[in-house]
């Protein structure tokens, strides 16, 4: 390890965040690879190491003999201060080498509030933060993840984006980069070629013109770039690369366990949920493959917990089969199985019993809204009866704590809906006390977490206004007053954070200047309450002459060109528009297994969608 780095490690909190050397990290001979790749996650080690995308792509890139992928996370403030003071540029964990000398740097953008961290990391690396100021071919800067669906706010910083799933796309990118390095191509030549790879979006190849009211007039491709950029997806999850080894961190991270992905996409179509629409069509992995993934990862890591990962676990069609296969060996090995993202309407009783054989983990339900009317608006097809019945089963199974997730600020919301949240929580409390076999001497704890709704691109609510911070504040207060029992604990998200998230989520290229200036003023780690500097952000908006309300509280017309309209995630705009209209009429849409609603995503997968288990009419 670099002696300069070592000198400061004793002076910082949790130095093991910066040393690498964990079990299953991959070390290669740097002289025998052609591409050195720095995989950057713009948040702390604990968060980045918990991200499944990081694990998958780390493994994908390192499975190539010609490439070495290393990890880089955002240093915490104490470390950054010392690095800047002693002029130590950002380095990669595996080799300790400076990432400015790498061939490619990729950022995983999972949430909008990490944008300033990305800019900060480029600067810490000693690179110009703006794409146009980096003239050499390498290091080329790319970004992917959920935020790539509207990358316009960070288009000034990143050379190109990967839309959709990276497993196959990453290989195409690396092949091209290798070839361009060999031929001595320029950065421009590389980017023009990259733009022809499906899923690659090169923002500098598109001119954006605006109307006088600030909305977009046109987006014009140049130099042969495609007019529409279509996301990439993996067709066959059984045969796509999945890591058989997870790096096992020394320090405690957020999700420190084996994770197996069971399917992609979601059949439910909740109208607020971006992940659902971005990841369609449904593609399931077979239970045999998942079981073998889990076995390999547990053996190589020593983890004693497996988490089955998807957007809605109980919608996996082979869940019972999978659990039987897993329980055959996990019980003996004392491995716990965690099932996140269960739904209240199809939570099977025998599942609870099966899981009880091992250890008990927490129980979380997400009714999302307080009244049936509003749940119909957002298409969360869950009834009060189902919530109560499931709680009943859970309490009978011995659970004493339940978490309920809600959102406030949803379209068409009234005070009645807010009061409904408190009423539903109260009903869950009452259900506990109605149980004749409730454990003696134990109370119930219903934890209600109410986040603020942020409209997101590629959802039916992408045209909707977001509640103003003032209104959200009122609603939070009203909810607090409506809760009458101490058995219910309330948790809110910081309204200011949701406000900024709302601006960035549906932002356009004009926000690039704001992000740059806010970062220069010292904004970073915006998703961390203790580091969030809202006043600096407001100052910056003012300075740049940009009204945040243009992005948040404005209802968009269906005819307006949205900043992400030139990106194609498979979902038809017409479908989203229809869903929006139905929302306002309070009409629900059945889930994909009941009836295909022709969202359009299957066309990217040769017409196949596992929700229907047969080819669909295109």
């Amino acid at each position: 390890m670099n002696r300069e780095v070592e000198k400061i490690l004793n002076l910082v909190q949790k130095p093991a965040r910066y040393t690498g050397g964990e079990l299953n990290e991959i070390i290669k001979d740097k002289n025998s690879v052609e591409i050195r790749y720095a995989f950057c996650f713009p948040d702390t080690y604990e968060i980045g190491m918990s991200n499944l995308g990081v694990k998958i792509l780390y493994s994908v890139i390192n499975s190539r003999e010609d490439s070495w992928c290393e990890r880089v996370f955002a240093p915490d403030n104490d470390m950054e201060e010392l690095m800047r003071e002693r002029k130590i540029p950002l380095f990669a964990l595996e080799s300790g080498d400076y990432i400015k000398d790498f061939d490619a740097i990729g950022f995983s953008l999972s949430y909008e509030l990490s944008y300033t961290n990305m800019v900060n990391m480029l600067d810490l690396a000693g690179l110009p933060v703006l794409s146009e100021d980096r003239t050499e071919l390498t290091p080329i800067i790319m970004a992917g993840g959920a935020c790539a669906c509207n990358p316009e706010p960070v288009a000034d910083f990143v050379d190109f984006f990967q839309l959709g799933e990276g497993e196959e796309m990453m290989n195409d990118v690396l092949e091209l980069l290798k070839e361009c390095k060999k031929n001595g191509s320029t950065k421009r030549e590389f980017l023009e070629k990259a733009a022809k790879i499906q899923g690659i979006y090169v923002p500098s190849l598109y001119d954006v013109d605006y109307n006088s009211d600030g909305t977009i007039k046109s987006v014009t491709p140049k130099n042969g770039a495609p007019a529409k950029i279509t996301k990439r997806l993996v067709s066959d999850l059984d045969n796509v690369h999945y890591p058989d080894k997870f790096i096992v961190p020394f320090i405690d991270i957020v999700h420190d366990r084996a994770v197996a992905e069971i399917f992609r996409g979601c059949i439910r179509g909740c109208r607020f949920c971006q992940a659902c629409f971005l990841n369609r069509p449904i593609r399931e992995k077979s239970p045999e493959v998942i079981n073998s993934d889990c076995k390999k990862i547990c053996e190589s890591s020593g983890y004693d917990e497996i988490s089955l990962c998807s957007l809605s676990t109980s919608d996996y069609s082979h869940l019972g089969d999978l659990l039987s296969q897993l329980l055959e060996w996990t019980t003996d090995d004392k491995i716990n199985i965690a099932l996140p993202s269960l739904r209240v309407d199809n939570f099977p009783e025998e599942l609870i019993e099966k899981l009880n054989e091992v250890r008990r983990s927490g129980l979380t339900f997400a009714p999302e809204a307080g009244t049936q009317r509003l749940r119909d608006v957002i298409n969360k097809n869950v009834t009060e009866k189902e919530v109560i019945e499931t709680s009943e089963k859970a309490f009978a199974g011995g659970w004493t704590a339940v978490k309920l997730y809600f959102m406030i600020g949803l379209p068409t919301e009234t005070t009645e809906d807010i009061e409904g949240i408190a009423a539903l929580a109260q009903q869950v409390v009452d259900t506990f006390y109605r149980n004749p076999d409730k454990p003696k001497g134990k109370g119930v704890n219903v934890s209600v977490s109410a986040s603020s709704f942020v409209p997101k691109p590629f959802t039916p609510f992408q045209w909707e206004p977001q509640d103003t911070p003032e209104l959200l504040k009122e609603k939070q207060e009203h909810l607090r007053e409506s809760v009458k029992t101490k058995k219910v604990s309330l948790h809110f998200h910081d309204i200011r954070v949701s406000f900024l998230e709302g601006i960035l989520a549906r932002g356009d290229r004009k926000l690039g200047e704001v992000i740059l200036k806010a970062w220069q003023k010292g904004c970073k780690f915006d998703s961390w309450d203790e580091h969030f500097k809202f006043d600096l952000w407001l100052d910056t908006f003012k300075e740049c002459g940009i009204d945040p309300a243009f992005y948040t509280s404005r209802k968009r017309d269906f005819n307006e060109i949205l900043p992400w309209d030139h990106l194609d995630y498979g979902i038809r705009r017409e479908f989203l528009k229809n869903e929006n209209k139905k929302a306002h009429e309070g009409i629900t849409t059945p889930h994909c297994r009941e009836k295909c609603s022709a969202c359009g995503a299957a066309k990217l997968n040769g017409g196949n969608c596992d929700a229907m288990r047969k080819n669909m009419v295109l």
């Binding site: 130095p15 910066y18 050397g21 020593g302 090995d333």
Partner: protein, 219 residues
């Protein structure tokens, strides 16, 4: 069920891994190594691992003991080989033995501290070590409350020696280490730096071994 005392070394960058994290790492390693462990018999069965003496962050260790409980047939030599096959770089099991002494027999620890040999540093360090006035601040608990107290480090130096060559200075020092009294090289470094008004960062610190009351190796 039988108790096995395994001995491990911790070298290189893993020295920045905290005691708590080394514990978790070892727990996972014994699982990966498929060692027939004895599990506690509670609602939440877990393997029994007892680290006899915590390691301060940033220090290498050569002979660190760890007691585990085994259920089933496996030789000590097998335990060593299997564990070494699954441990991350930097942690190595050196041997496995019967626990001959009680954990409470641990009384002292021997350390080596290496410094870059800068002009006059050896004399300065030697003077400071012999001054009898080395004091550091330690956070301790008084009646259950966190409190910063001044600790005289000089009084705790059981054994001390200094040697130098062209490149480096080697300080060997023995401190109390155990349940009742505990001084570690990090305390010494902060005491030295405040005494000398300096900002010295040692090249490396190594814990050589733990000993009993009579400075005989803990076994």
């Amino acid at each position: 069920m039988r108790c096995v005392r395994i001995w491990f070394s911790k070298k290189g960058r893993v020295k920045y891994v905290s005691h708590l994290d080394i514990m978790r790492c070892m727990t996972r390693a014994v699982r990966r190594a498929d060692i027939p462990l004895w599990y506690t018999e509670g609602f939440n069965p877990h393997p029994y691992l007892n680290f006899l003496q915590p390691m301060p962050l940033g220090i290498e260790g050569l002979n660190e003991p760890l007691d585990i409980r085994i259920e089933g047939d496996i030789s000590n030599a097998d335990i060593v080989t299997r564990l070494n096959g699954v441990l991350p770089e930097g942690i190595e099991i050196t041997r496995a033995s019967e626990p001959y002494m009680k954990p409470s027999d641990i009384a002292f620890a021997e350390y080596e501290i290496y410094f870059e040999n800068e002009n006059g540093l050896a004399e300065k360090l030697d003077g400071a070590m012999k001054s009898g006035e080395l004091v550091c601040e330690k956070t301790g608990k008084v009646n259950g409350r966190k409190k910063i107290k001044q600790v005289n480090v000089s009084e705790s130096i059981k054994k001390y020696a200094l040697s130098e060559n062209d490149e480096s200075i080697l300080m060997t020092v023995t401190f109390p280490c155990g349940n009742t009294k505990n001084v570690n090289p990090m305390n010494l470094m902060s005491a030295l730096n405040s005494y000398l008004g300096a900002d010295i960062v040692p090249l490396n610190i190594i814990r050589l071994r733990l000993t009993d009351e009579n400075l005989l190796p803990f076994e």
